[in-house]
Amino acid sequence: MFQVRIHGRGGQGVVTAAELLSVAAFIDGKQAQAFPSFGPERSGAPVAAFCRIDNRTIRLHEPIVEPDAIIIQDTTLLHSVDVFQGLSPRGFVLLNSKKSLDELGLVDLVSRLPHAHARVVDATAAAQKHLGRPLSNVALLGSFAALTGAVRIDSILEAITDRFRGRTREGNAAAARAAYELVTGGAT
């Protein structure tokens, strides 16, 4: 089982990201379960959402306490929420930022993880460029696909197609692909 936790703030599409991830995994022929850290609607408040991916039916209905991957959409949370809590020793970390891992003060954390398991990506820039809005949630999923291989980029793109319409669909798809290539370095 592969467990993902996504951190962000209300209004940044954290829940949508988890849902899309689960749909992409489903398209991959896997079993998936996505759910938010439930709470009343409140813009700007810290929000987390979760996704489990497995090859067999997922019967668990418990919180994810030891995620295999953590996606951080908003690095301002680094100061206020323990976003890395429970991270598996062989886990992945994906952050959305213009800064480097060093500038974010995460060198220590990264050193404890396997090589190339932590990445910073400026997904906001990719979203701004392709989607016209600084909404990085979907773009980050492209990077996630590249970083972890837990889900195929084509499935992410198909999930985007199913979920969105018009320019939002095209923009998100382009942003996801761009963010994917930021991690693969262009190589597919």
Binding site: A34, F35, P63
Partner: protein
Amino acid sequence: MKQIEGSRAIAETVALCRPEVICAYPITPQTHIVEALSEIVKAGELDPCAFINVESEFAALSVAIGASAAGSRAYTATASQGLLYMTEALYNAAGLGLPIVMTLGTRAIGAPINIWNDHSDAMALRDAGWIQLFAESNQEAADLHVTAFRLAEELSVPVMVCVDGFILTHAFEPVDIATQADVDAFLPPFVPREVLDPADPITIGALVGPEAFTEVKVLAHQRMRRAIDRIPALASEFAARFGRTSGALVRSYRTLEADTVVVALGSVSGTIQEVVDAMRDEGQAVGSVSVVTFRPFPFAAVRQALKHALRVVVIEKNLAIGMRGVLAADVREALGVEAPPVHTVIAGLGGRGITSTSLHRVIGEAHTGTLELEHFLDLDRPTVVRATAKELSR
């Protein structure tokens, strides 16, 4: 098969059941269900159907009562405080024998206000005369609604489908949505037992005095008990028609030769099954039983499922203040005088997550005889001790 939100799956399935009147008042965590249904109706995908935005939960069930009495298949959904607010109407609908189906997104009851999942709302109204079914998964949550309408209309007893708030309602899981043809074949049009009709006028809701009230209630009790026979039969029919299981009185998992059996309602059963597997791998003879039909309480089926258990652990998402556990009490009654020890484990109140780690520990303790009969899972004991001392010192 679709990867969709539990609420959406429920809404789409309810729509397939062709309700003619849907009334809704929003309350977390049921909102996504009624929002989806309003979309479906507004888009003309469910027709004829009136989607009525009412001014309170009390009004919601009242509108459903009127619609059902006039011969329309009626549906509503609520949770927690909303369920309590419609209490009068719940008893009224059951007393009048109206086959209304309602989704209950189970949620804690305040005070203190809490929007997260536990079973206190369902438990609070367990005696209202409604059949109560608990879904284990989103697939079952959706499918149970089809069975619910069929059961309700056959028995003239309203049915509450209990779906764990947030945990199931807001989770994206793979769900097979039935086809219209299959649902139509399983669920024929509603033929009311009695109906408001100017051509054949009747009085519904008369004043019944001491000379007849008892008998009326006994008849209602009998009707509800008939569900004990009908539910397994309908589950078989459902499996034959839809190719998957949905609904049961109870569902046993690896209880064969299990010394310790865990009993629970709803989604936590899935987590418990994973723990059972892990513990079996460790050589511990444990098993679990998921109670799918809570009301009417399936005494015989529970007794049968726990026949060989040396001890029972009941995981309860409800604390009967001043008493203890509700499900455990029903289980003890089912087991009768020869009952083995039945542990009440109060867990998950107000949405506190029930982890496999904690379950593993507590089941292990029961298995080795070190668990108290009444246990609060993952209780912050120091805080309770401190606060208690403060209260008592005043």
